[in-house]
Symmetry: C2
Subunit: 431 residues, 2 copies
């Protein structure tokens, strides 16, 4: 009986695991140096937690399950609701600002496509307790710190930035009611992925009056923050959100990452809970889906039963990132090679005990060591040593009668005869 | 609206995550030095894959779900079926022996108890392609390499070892039919957890004749491998399995781990697929559930549509292990502390740009750095630096007008005035 894997999931053979580990280790390293601490939550939560505030797109894609007690659960499609739950649970004892990161495994029941799987990893960082855009700028810096670290430049990637607060304020001056905003965001978020006619039809179905539609289309065509100010009559609140965007771009310059960043009013984000700065990271060529995105969600913790507290963060998935790094030739050459310090070859069954003993001693001392399970031909054993990328091969053969070992350097091919006890003293000191 | 976490799952706050990471990093390190390569599979697989060969206990505890395409899936309760599937898929291109490890997140829909959660991590190592008990011995060594590494001694833990092959052979000489064995294993596996009367009643319900029951009870009371030979008339196959057990104990002596290992005919294992050596690791005091267990499963790959190929391995969960390490006082003192290289304090808003610039420079150079988001009182900022375990606090204040920084060593309290450019040259070389 042969059973296949489930479509949209991945088997991580050692060579695939090496890629996954390299990506995730990089995320962790950069998070730590940016001053974030790691957390994680459960793989499943109550279904209603995700229905509450994540936006329709994600809720449609939930893997749900019912446990024996009849509880309705779901595999997490994102970790932000869990973060909100966890922070709320300990809100009084946690030192603010909270700077946390996580690398959750996430699940979305959608049709698998290039860069989009039903099971994937996502790097999340969040800053809770800082309302200044300095925190938003810092999250963008952190994402770019990693992306630069793996070799991507501003020729390869771009961060497209906007503000939902500004969008909301300007839309409201054009006559859109506050309660219509969420439905409108969902349409605006799809704009770049839809044929223009489809987009305009959806827009007019939602907005109704022609003049309103025209103004929205005009707004969506602005190319700079300044244009927003010059083309639209701005309320005091709208002006403030424009100032905030301008301060953000100044901070990005101070941080040395201005080359990566552009204003793009088309960036709205699919999730329902964003309230301020929003951004998405793309390949410059525009051939792939978003590498990641994030923004400010100052109301979410309150909606989850906690206090009103400022929050901002991003998520970057592993699938599109891996495709981009591969396409740019940045993946294979940076991947650490698995290696063995020692391979121990056994010339005759009578030396089995010595082989086993030495291998275990080396391991206990911290060296990566393998050995031959059977005294097959030495040539075959040396081939095994080489395939396992052993630095040295120790050959236990007839020299062992004189308490000696042959140590072969696999890179140079040079062999030495070494006294066993001397070898133990020299080489099995704790690594 | 406040939503609780699901019972039997864990929230990993940074201090909990530090424990989880320390345990898992230790597993990975020891696996690598024992010559294993890491792999992983998907969190869910087809439900039937687990129903096929895992034994009733696990199947009853599956979290199952149905996807939009009507496919019946389950969250993995163990990774061995996935391993068998993955190895079978690439059986011809994989170099043998296959030595793989994994640290899967697993799920069992059972009542949460001490050391038993519905979501947990398990360290798995497996050797595929070696039929010699040398491979079984090596897996036991690998488990003990880790357990010793974290400070457990043979006074703390014990590996109880038996052989299903021997048990099967001897049971068959007492008149049990081969097809009755699986049901009998399930009862024998529960023996130590049941009142003696309950066990004997279950046994007589399964076996039927009184003489058969008496012989089984006699067999289950033997205390050494030698006693099996002396009390029972052994077939040639039974003798071979006794010899194999004896060779295993010799190898464990050679490996220097005999003190940890005992023969215990009561160890049968709950999983259906074991075929040879089986073992379980316990705390010596016998107060906790098994820390882990494993054994040989030479038929599993064939049952999953692959070739007949020898296989052996173990699983060690994180829950009981963590309890034991805590009880022995081995956990807190070994936990690496999170730390920051630099905290940058800001004396006045006018220095914000300098603070942000320096923090980002330090991070890009590889240093873990945080900074103050607001120029609150210096005392408060120094307190923040100390709480974040910063090694040094850089104070940017009026000295900055002369291009100078104050650098405070947080351990000694000593402060130095350093020229900004000199500091950059000295301290922001790539770490």
């Amino acid at each position: 009986m042969k059973i296949p894997p489930v479509k949209g999931t991945r088997d991580f053979y050692p060579q695939d695991m090496a890629v996954r580990n390299w990506i995730i280790d990089g995320w962790k390293k950069v998070s730590l140096r940016n001053g974030f601490e790691e957390y994680d939550g459960p793989i499943f939560e109550y279904l209603k937690m995700f229905q509450l505030k994540s936006g329709d797109e994600i809720v449609e894609q939930l893997f749900s399950l019912t446990d024996r007690g009849g509880r309705e659960l779901a595999l997490r499609p994102e970790i932000t609701p869990t973060l909100a739950r966890m922070v709320n649970q300990k809100i009084n004892s946690l030192t603010k600002p909270i700077k946390w990161f996580s690398v959750p495994r996430l699940f979305r029941a959608e049709r698998p496509q290039k860069g989009r799987l039903r099971e994937f990893f996502q790097w999340n960082i969040d800053i809770i307790g800082i309302d200044d855009v300095l925190a938003d700028a810092e999250t963008i810096f952190c994402a770019l710190d990693y992306l630069q670290q793996v070799g991507l430049t501003s020729d390869d990637i771009v961060v497209k930035i906007s503000s939902r607060k500004m969008l909301a304020e300007v839309l409201q001056t054009t006559g859109i009611a506050e309660k219509e905003l969420e439905a409108l965001y969902a349409i605006l978020d799809k704009r770049s992925r839809l044929p223009i006619e489809t987009f305009e039809r959806m827009l007019s179905e939602t907005v109704g009056d022609k003049e309103g539609c025209r103004k929205i289309l005009e707004l969506m065509s602005v190319e700079s923050v300044e244009q927003v100010s010059s083309l639209f009559e701005l309320s005091e609140k709208a002006k403030k959100s424009v100032d905030e965007l301008q301060r953000l771009f100044e901070l990005l310059r101070t941080m040395g990452i201005a080359d990566f960043c552009v204003f793009d009013i088309g960036v709205v984000r699919g999730l329902a809970y964003y309230t301020g700065i929003v951004y998405e990271i793309y390949d410059r060529a525009g051939e792939l889906r978003a590498i990641g995105g994030g923004g400010r969600y100052d109301d979410l913790l309150k909606q989850f039963g906690g206090p009103t507290i400022a929050a901002t963060g991003f998520g970057i998935g592993d699938c599109v990132l891996e495709i981009l790094l591969r396409e740019k030739g940045l993946l294979d050459k940076q991947l650490p090679k698995s290696r063995l310090d020692y391979f121990i070859a056994c010339v005759d069954k009578v030396y089995e005990e010595a082989v086993v003993k030495l291998a275990m001693k080396l391991r206990l001392a911290g060296y990566a060591a393998n050995f031959s399970y059977k005294p097959v031909k030495l040539k075959k054993q040396l081939k095994d040593a080489s395939e396992q990328n052993a630095q040295k091969c120790i050959i236990i053969g007839d020299e062992f009668k004189n308490n000696e070992l042959v140590v072969k350097d696999m890179a140079t091919g040079r062999q030495e005869l070494i006294d066993y006890d001397e070898f133990l003293v020299q080489y099995t000191k704790s690594k």
